[in-house]
Amino acid sequence: MHRSPVRRLAGALHRRPGLRLTALLSAPMAWLVLAYLGSLGVLLLSAFWTTNDFTSQVEYVWNTDNFANILSDPVYRTVALRTLGIAVGVTVVDGALALPMAFYMARVARPRSRRLLLVAVTAPLWAGYLVKAYAWWVMLSHGGVLDWAVGTPGFGVPAVVITLSYLWLPYMVLPLYAAFAQLPDSVLDASADLGARPWRTFRSVVLPLVKPALIAGSIFTFSLSLGDYLTVQIVGGTTQMLGNVIASDVTLNLPMAAAVSCVPVLLIVGYLLAVRRTGAWENL
């Protein structure tokens, strides 16, 4: 049998799983470790540098002043706590909205309308972040749409939570939909056969099974909110989030910006590690 180079390579790969694994992993890992992790490391390292007051240029003098500043100055604590509160609020709102929607789409709607609903939920992703944020400005403004209908909370933290929840809602619905769709009918039937009412089945059987997807969605909503700084400029009134502090420092005091960046980075890494065992990482 004629052995082409392709076949020889295929044979070599087939015989050596280790080689196959290395071949598969090398490119993505090279990309992420070199291009991403490396640059991230350099950035976070710069938090230990200082900035010359007069020239605004970075000086390579190792010190921890920036971190001491963050810990001692109440400004950073206030902003960090507010940001955390907003991120948690957005996650809760999105979870509450997305659970029934995803459940309906996956288990109640007829298969024909299922696809249509999926398109309907994802289509707003194409409208553009800034346009949607400004649409909420129109909704929330004095005499705006919401003001006509039910009254507006005005611009501030509630407005930021509403707008961010809106922006990230599809990212919560998608993993939940996938999880609901994969639930085997037999489990649900068994629960019903054993006498559980629908709500009980949902709470005791369905919810634990879709928990990884719920957490996966929350990774999106939580971390996207934690780093946001544009929405808050549009509907935040006089509110400020961590992203704004980072953004304002980037121009003149990069080491400080890097030090402040550590706060959301630590929060997110901590959250990711905390949910590691739930299998949420696979549901993003």
Binding site: S46, W49, T51, N52, D53, F54, T55, S56, Q57, V58, E59, Y60, V75, Y76, T78, V79, Y134, W137, V138, S141, H142, G143, G144, G154, F155, Q233, I234, G236, G237, T238, T239, Q240, N244, V245, A247, S248, D249, V250, T251, L252, N253, L254, A257
Partner: protein
Amino acid sequence: MRTLRPLAALAATAALLLTGACSASKSPGGQTPSGFTPPRVPMRQSLGAGEGSVDVVAWAGYVEYGQDSKTVDWVTPFTKATGCKVNLKVAGTSDEMVALMKTGQYDTVSASGDATLRLIAGGDVAPVNTKLVPNYATVYPGLKNQPWNSVGGVPYGIPHGRGANLLMYNTAKVTPAPTSWGAVFDPNSPYKGHLTAYDDPIYIADAALYLMKTKPSLGIRNPYALTADQLNAAVTLLKDQKPNVNAYWSDYTKEQASFDSGDFWLGTTWEVIQQAVAADGKVKTAAILPSEGSTGWSDTWMVSAHAQHPNCAYEWMNYIVSPSVNAQVAEYFGEAPANSQACGYIKDNPNFCADYHANDESWWRNVYYWNTPTRNCVDGSGRNDCTDYAQWVTAWNEIKS
């Protein structure tokens, strides 16, 4: 122009800080500057033939080649007349302009007062030989040799235009009509929840100006030269103001729409925004220069110290401040022209020059043009104990936190 485009600025300056760090040691002035001596950069003595192109950094709306509307185009005639093709890079903020000019890839820039000194101190721009710019002769004298466009009597640029940060109010809601910035700094304001202010550290200067005029005991002589105590006083004033503020505005769109909707009744504005609100006709507004005066801006065309196309750059500077072109830009953008003869060339609005106080030098005497706060006080006192812009940024974060 004062439209905040934080993203681009961030990108440009972050890059600069991260990579320019290596050259930190040779920054002019050293670590403890005792006086402002710009690095020696030679001034052009004569002009030669054009190089065929010129690379320009400018505010949106300053260099129009028909990109917005086919009828708005003053670049094409320039290229026809001089053979210099114009490559435009629009900058969103002063920080971005500084960052772009530091790359040395651009020939000329339309810098605002909060960028010019940084460019001069960094040796990024060259002194301008005004003899080679014939149209400089008819620029308003009040704009020549000012602290933000010259050092020690040496001009570093050609004035382009100017504007003031006025007090705008909804005439139906705000009665009696305000005459002082006190209207926005009153902690017990009857307009609580409907105030607005510019979302930028430079807004601290507005508070400082008010304190300068109303609290002489603080000893403020220039809103951009504040000691730590004076900065603190301004910060306190702004913190007291914050509960009354509906929202800070950073982009043009937001302020325009917020006055239209009735969210904003009172706050700082640019003339061009007030005109846009008036044109919409949803609410009646007025914009005034309060009794204390106001902050403002005056832009300057500067030429790079590393210009690859200096002849075309000089041609451009001369062209853009020529009476007819200066009139066109000023009217399109909505600011007062720099050339004293420009008013004769205004086309659309017969009241344009009156509206924008183009010829009213006494009006401009009360306008304190933006300048970059540096430790070396910018009030010309020679003192060395002022707060710098980085401290203003920190203070602004504290106010908003």
